[in-house]
Structure formats: C-alpha cells, structure tokens
C-alpha cells in the first residue's frame, strides 16, 4: 500500500537538546505512519505531547536525526511548497492584502499575474472572502484570518496540507463554522491533510482516521477509523450520528487516560 502513500514516516524519534543543562527533552518516540492520497488524518493528544514537534519535522522546519520521513517518496530535508502549513497562530503577513497573501505561494514561484489572479479569486470565493480582497489582516476577524491562511495554503497546491491546531484560537461558534467549511473545501478540492488538534471532538469530526498520541514522549497509542462520508459530516447531523459519537467517546477515554497518567506521575 506504499504506492499511493503521500507521507511515510518510519521510526521517527526526536530529542530537543537543552543547551543549558545538557539534558535533552524527549519529545517523540518511534512514530510510524503513512498517509495516503486524499486522506484526512487527525492527530490528537494531550498538550505538550509532541504534536507540534511532529508537524514541524514533517514541514521541514525542524531537522531530525532519528528515523525517516518522506513526502511523495522524497526524503524531507527542509521546508518546501509540497507541504503547505496552516499554523496555530495566524501567520499571514500583515503587510499583504488578503489577495496578495493568498497568492503569495504562486508569486514566489513566479506564476504569471493573470493566472495567479484567477487562481486567487477561485480560493477567495471558496473560503467565502469575496469583498475582502484588498483588506489587510488587521482589518479582519480571527476566523477570517484563518480562512486566509487556509486559502493561502490551498492556493499553493501542496501535495499534503499540514494544519497545527488552526482553529484553537477562535471562539467556539466560529470554530464550528470553520470546521464545517473545511469539510466543504476538502470535498470541493480533494486534499491530503494531516490535522493536529488537542480537541477530541474536532479530531473525530474531521478525520477519516484519528491517531491518538500518548503523553510525552509522544508515541502512537492507537488509531481509530471514522467511517463517515465527508458529505455527511455537518455539525447539525453529526451530533446525532452514532458513528461519530462512538468514535469521539472512545478517543476521549483514550486521551483522558493519558492525562490521568500524567497527573499520577
């Protein structure tokens, strides 16, 4: 099944060196994972368990020495436009308008202006930002900023999208809207996504597969398949869908046992 695997991770561990004490922080332990074309995989785990570390390694922002990680069969050696990242804190550039933020990836690749504008407009419409093209980020609400960040990543057309708790900083009501919208966007554009969250509900709602991390050092504890077609994943229906509620409860008890362990230790 490695044929259509977009991301392959084998035996990946990570230690952060501590320059002051000489000790190291053991952040990840022996992660093995494959993500296939058009799969939506969520990773959930207690805070501080190494989720961001894992994503940063895949993004190429953090060098790794223990284990292997490949995208489209190519060893990860640094960041690249084949892996698009949506960060937790919105990282869209304050000095670029919505338009120019979304088109930034294409601009860096020197895509001709006419084609760029056409593509940007498509994604602006897709994420519902029409009318805000010429606005600067500080003029937008938190939810709109994350829509820009998502559109920017989509527009650069990566092989795999990496999302690190992208909706954690917005209010609960906006979060639900953004989650529904993300499903719609995924249906419309067919994407391969690795989505990190500490919210069990979010992990079960979005993921085709949900991977539960143990507490630090992060290891894969279990993997849970959530076999619900994308088009049925709307919050108003999901709350009554036993497949969703069962998966959510199972993940919740797994995560909870990790947090409880943590308290005892």
């Amino acid at each position: 099944m490695t044929g259509d695997a977009k991301l392959i991770v084998q035996g990946l561990s990570h230690h952060y060196p501590d320059e002051y004490t000489g000790e190291s922080v053991h952040a990840l332990q022996d992660i093995n994972l494959q993500i296939h074309d058009n799969e939506f995989v969520t990773i959930v785990g207690p805070s501080g368990c190494g989720k961001t570390t894992f994503l940063n390694i895949i993004a190429g922002l953090l060098p790794y020495r223990e284990g292997r990680a490949m995208v489209d069969g190519v060893e990860i050696k640094g960041p690249g436009p084949d892996r698009g990242v949506v960060f937790q804190e919105h990282a869209i550039l304050p000095w670029r308008t919505v338009n120019r933020n979304i088109g930034h990836g294409l601009e860096l690749r020197k895509v001709p202006k006419a084609e760029r504008e056409k593509r940007v407009q498509e994604y602006i419409d897709l994420v519902g930002l029409s009318g805000f093209e010429e606005r600067y980020p500080h003029e937008l609400s938190g939810g709109m900023k994350q829509r820009v960040a998502v559109a920017r990543t989509l527009c650069a057309d990566p092989v795999i999208m990496l999302m690190d708790e992208p909706f954690a900083a917005v209010d609960a009501q906006t979060r639900i809207t953004l989650q529904d919208e993300l499903n719609r966007v995924v249906m419309a554009t067919r994407r391969t996504i690795l989505f990190i969250t500490h919210s069990v509900e979010e992990a079960a709602f979005l993921g085709d597969r949900c991977i539960v991390f143990s507490r630090r050092p992060g290891q894969i504890k279990t993997e849970i398949k959530i076999d619900i077609p994308r088009e049925e994943r709307l919050w108003k229906d999901m709350v009554n869908n036993p497949k969703f509620t069962d998966a959510r409860d199972e993940i919740l008890s797994l995560v909870r046992s990790e947090v409880t362990n943590d308290d005892n230790s």
């Binding site: 993004a59 990242v85 550039l93 304050p94 000095w95 930034h104 990836g105 600067y136």
Partner: protein
C-alpha cells in the same frame, strides 16, 4: 467584525476630518505661543536684547531677505541636512540589515558600533576638522556619521524582532533566502525603519546646526551664532523658528505620510 464594515471611502473622509481638526489645533497652539511671546516681550525691559517681539523677529527676516542671505542660508542648511541624512540612512539600512541577518557579523561589529554610537558627532568634530579643515565636507561628514547609527541600530533590532512564524510561513510556501528578506524581513522591519529614520533625521538636524557653527559654514546654524556676536537677538530667534518649523513640516509632509501608508495601514502601530 465591526471594523471590516467601514467602507474605504468613509474611512478616508474620517482620516481627513482628523487632519482638519489637527490643523485647527496646530493653528490655535501657534497663535497661543505667539500671543504669549508678544506679551512677555512687551512687559520686559530692553526686549530687543532679551526677547524681541514676534513682529520684530519677522521684520528681521525682511531685512535679511532684502540682503538676499536668508534664502541662501536656509537652502544651504536644508541641502546639507537632506543629503547628509539621506546618505546616512541609505548606508545605515543595508548595514543594519546585514547585521540583523547574520549573527556572526553582528557579534563582530557590535562592540565597534557601540563605541562609535557613544562618541557623538560633536566629539569627532575636532579630528574631522584636522583632516578636512573648516569646510563643507567636514559638516557633511559629521551629519552622515550622526545619522548612520540610529537607523543602523534600529534596522538591526527590527529585523530580529520579526516574528519567527512569518519567516516559517514564507519558507513553507517555498520562499528563497532572498525572497524572505524582500517579502518578510524588510516589511517586518518597517516600524523600526520609521523610528530609526526619525531619530537619524532629528540627530542630523542638530548636527548640521552645530557643524555649521563650529566649521564656520554659511547657513542657519551660523546665522544664529552670528546673531549672538552681532547682538541681534531677533536674528537668533528667527533662526530658531525656521529650524523648528522646518522640522514640523518635514515630519508632517514626509515622515507621517510614509508611516501612514505603510506601518499604520498594516496595523503594525497604533494610529
């Protein structure tokens, strides 16, 4: 979501209203100062020596204008200021950028920069005079020297203070090192470029006045000190007025618009 509902044209007219009311405030302030000045001048003994009235000061300008020297003093000084600080800033920005980008180079140059930063333009003046004489070159070098460090230091810290997540975001979009400098670090350092430029031009303004006096070069600085020797207090006050008012104009017509089109527009500073 309320901020985004304001249409662009409405925002513009709002900004215009603010500038209008600012202009009115400025006029009121100026009139107040002039009136106070006139009152003090009218109540003291020998106002011509200690504080000539605003009108006397104005008449002294007519006098100097008729002789044709005021305009040439003024343009001499302004030319020195503009060229000296423009060159200082033009050299200081890339130097600060280089130091901001490369930790090794920064560590190497930092003690040297600190050293020269503390040795003010006036302190280097004598040695520059020994090298270049009492000349225009001497004044220009002092202005350039004075304006270089504030901008270089500010750009250095500005580049370093650009949040890491913006750099990471650009890298994951495929930006090269050069593209990161152009699209992320330079605009991100703009608030510091603005602060640094303001400081540089402010310091250059002081250096030009002191430099002209010390090197005996014709200009506003010289005019003020000549006023003292000639016992012409009105001429001194006139020079002071011109210096201060020119700074207000520079600020209003050059620095402020630059800031409001960039860092204010981007929401990087409070309006």
């Amino acid at each position: 979501m309320t901020t985004v509902d304001v249409a662009p044209h409405r925002r513009k007219s709002l900004r215009k209203t603010i500038t209008d009311s600012r202009a009115i405030q400025l006029v009121i302030l100026l009139i107040g100062v002039l009136v106070l000045w006139a009152i003090i001048s009218a109540t003291i003994d020998r106002p011509d020596r200690y504080l000539p009235s605003p009108l006397t000061t104005l008449f002294s300008s007519v006098d100097l204008l008729e002789k044709g020297v005021l305009i040439s003093f003024y343009t001499d000084t302004l030319t020195r200021l503009v060229i000296g600080s423009a060159v200082g800033i033009a050299l200081g920005i890339p130097f600060g950028l280089l130091l901001g980008l490369n930790r090794n180079i920064a560590d190497m140059f930092y003690p040297l920069m600190n050293f020269f930063q503390s040795v003010s333009g006036i302190a280097i003046f004598p040695v520059i005079v020994i090298w270049f004489g009492n000349s225009n070159t001497t004044v220009m070098i002092v202005i350039l020297y004075t304006s270089f460090f504030p901008i270089a230091f500010n750009v250095l810290s500005g580049v370093r203070s650009v949040p890491m997540r913006y750099i990471s975001a650009a890298r994951t979009l495929g930006a090269s090192r050069f593209q990161i400098i152009k699209d992320v670090l330079l605009p991100g350092a703009m608030p510091s470029v603005a602060i640094g430029s303001r400081l540089s031009i402010g310091f250059a303004w002081r250096a030009v006045i002191a430099g002209e006096m010390l090197a005996g070069q014709a200009g506003l600085g010289n005019m003020i000190f000549a006023g003292q020797e000639l016992d012409n207090t009105a001429q001194i006050l006139l020079g002071m007025m011109l210096i201060g008012l020119t700074w207000i104009m520079l600020d209003h017509y050059l620095l402020r618009p630059l800031e409001s089109d960039t860092i204010e527009r981007w929401g990087l500073v409070q309006k």
